[in-house]
Subunit: 309 residues, 2 copies
């Protein structure tokens, strides 16, 4: 396999798209700026490494590509924006067959196509080391993007989906909550939002700090995923611990007024929505135990440390 | 070093910029769409790998970061666009000190700042393998971008700078020809353009094929860099061979009408401009030898094959 073989294949297997007047193959791609764009381009770059974010030998190239793209698209969801284009750069191990590299790039393209998002750029290189997939996403904000810093005092804190235990498989197969984020916008003003990538225990403090507030979360209200329960049965930690501290849920964490929260459906775009707590003026985070006592916030949350999944 | 330490440092050492209303630190960055934008966003992704595109142990982290960014900015020059934002993703070897990673990211930021381009996104990961730097660039086209496919029959073919032997050092220290491309636009309509990354022998056929034309290049007119001559003295190849076949010149290759070419200055933005040949109707590439005979086009050009520089 040579770098250019793969790029040629990618160019010639990409369908023409009116929104991409200059596709892969020139020095840069050109993407039409959405007529609805309110003056802002949104940008993200994110990498997925073999042995850190996925294990190529067990998950295969399609799952690796899909995860790499969806990690990036999850950030589009977190900004309540639709992705307008993605680009994918791959450093391929020299012993990877061309067909596997094509499977990988096809999976990347298909993952984005689920959100009508074209793959407009690719860079390929070959080396003697593990696979690196780097994905960059562009979106156009049609209104003010929903940031982490917008939470207001007494806001309800909501999470989508169920949390914990994603390492059992969901970290590869999750769906970026782009449709959910778009629907939410039509129901109520969302004050602040982010996606849960490092676990609620690590991510909620970031949202709270950005907003200059604290938070109290009701332990009993946490939507615990069955995977968290399964993992807990194995390792002796509590299911709640897994729901709080496991990474890679790729669910949405957001806040809105209590009034609007009360009107939220329990499910939207087939995804459960759960009110788990409220923003507080005291800038600390605490967990309200089932007996009503306030407990310290669990340390940690998830950080990739070269641990292969 | 932990991933988040580096990201925090990057966030807090980035100056506020009115063109970046949402800087590094949220799920995506927001960049103001230029009021001059003519409806198109231009996008590029490009990676630089230790042992392939640079050798970290000999060039150090600053030179590696600078090269990674400038490779991407060279594509902005090739589209005759100014970069509006870059993002940098780094996979850092676990034994790299935090200070070295900071030096690397500072060099990336400074390289872009030379063109008033902000660094708006960063992703960091740590692993047990060599350094990977992936750079993504966004530009806004203020007029139709200059593509590879626009060359016209009988166009003059022009290159900027001098070619060959960049492996002696220029592949790390080159300046993306952004200012030159911008000035060119004010002088004459450029029909087609690209940057020379794989060597004229490989790149001119791409421009010709995209335009459905052939080309004849005058060997005697090739602007041979002193580095090409120096390399030729070592390896027995001709200086011309190095000027044609060496990669990573990162100069501009462009075509325009003979009439406009005749009015080009010999130097623009302190960079020499040399007319080297013309586009032909016969879709082949040939080299005109000093004695006037037409010779076959040299095979090859440069492709990274995991050879460390």
């Amino acid at each position: 396999m040579r770098e250019n073989d793969l790029l040629h294949w990618l160019m010639h297997s990409t369908r023409p798209d009116a929104a991409v007047p200059v596709p892969i193959g020139d020095d840069m791609a050109a993407v039409a700026i959405s007529p609805q764009a309110a003056g802002l381009a949104l940008l993200k770059i994110d990498q997925a490494l073999d042995g850190v974010h996925f294990n190529l030998s067990t998950c295969g190239p399609a799952a690796a590509g899909r995860k790499a793209v969806n990690r990036c698209l999850s950030d589009c969801a977190a900004m309540a924006t639709a992705p307008a284009a993605i680009m994918v750069s791959v450093a391929l191990p020299a012993d990877m067959p061309l067909a596997a590299a094509q499977t990988l790039l096809t999976a990347c393209r298909n993952a984005a196509a689920e959100f009508n998002c074209p793959l407009v750029g690719g860079d390929t290189a070959i080396w003697q080391h593990p696979l690196v997939i780097t994905v960059s996403a562009l979106g156009f904000a049609t209104q003010s993007p929903v940031l982490r810093c917008g939470a207001q005092l007494a806001d309800a804190i909501v999470v989508s989906g169920k949390l914990g235990g994603s390492i059992l498989g969901r970290h590869l197969t999750f769906t970026p909550r782009i449709k959910l984020a778009s629907l939410l916008q039509t129901i109520a003003p969302v004050h602040s939002m982010m996606d849960l990538s490092d676990g609620l225990a690590a991510d909620l403090p970031r949202l709270a700090a950005a907003s200059g507030l604290g938070a109290v979360v009701d332990e009993a209200r946490l939507p615990v995923h069955p995977d968290a329960t399964q993992l807990a049965a194995r390792d002796g930690q509590s299911p709640t611990h897994h729901a709080l501290c496991d990474g890679e849920d790729y669910e949405l964490l957001f806040t809105l007024s209590q009034h609007d929260a009360a009107r939220l459906p329990t499910q939207l775009a087939d995804v459960p929505l759960t009110i788990i707590g409220e923003m507080t003026s005291e800038p600390t985070l605490r967990l309200r135990a089932p007996d009503g006592t306030l407990q310290p916030w669990p340390a940690g949350g998830f950080e990739h440390q070269g641990d292969a999944h």
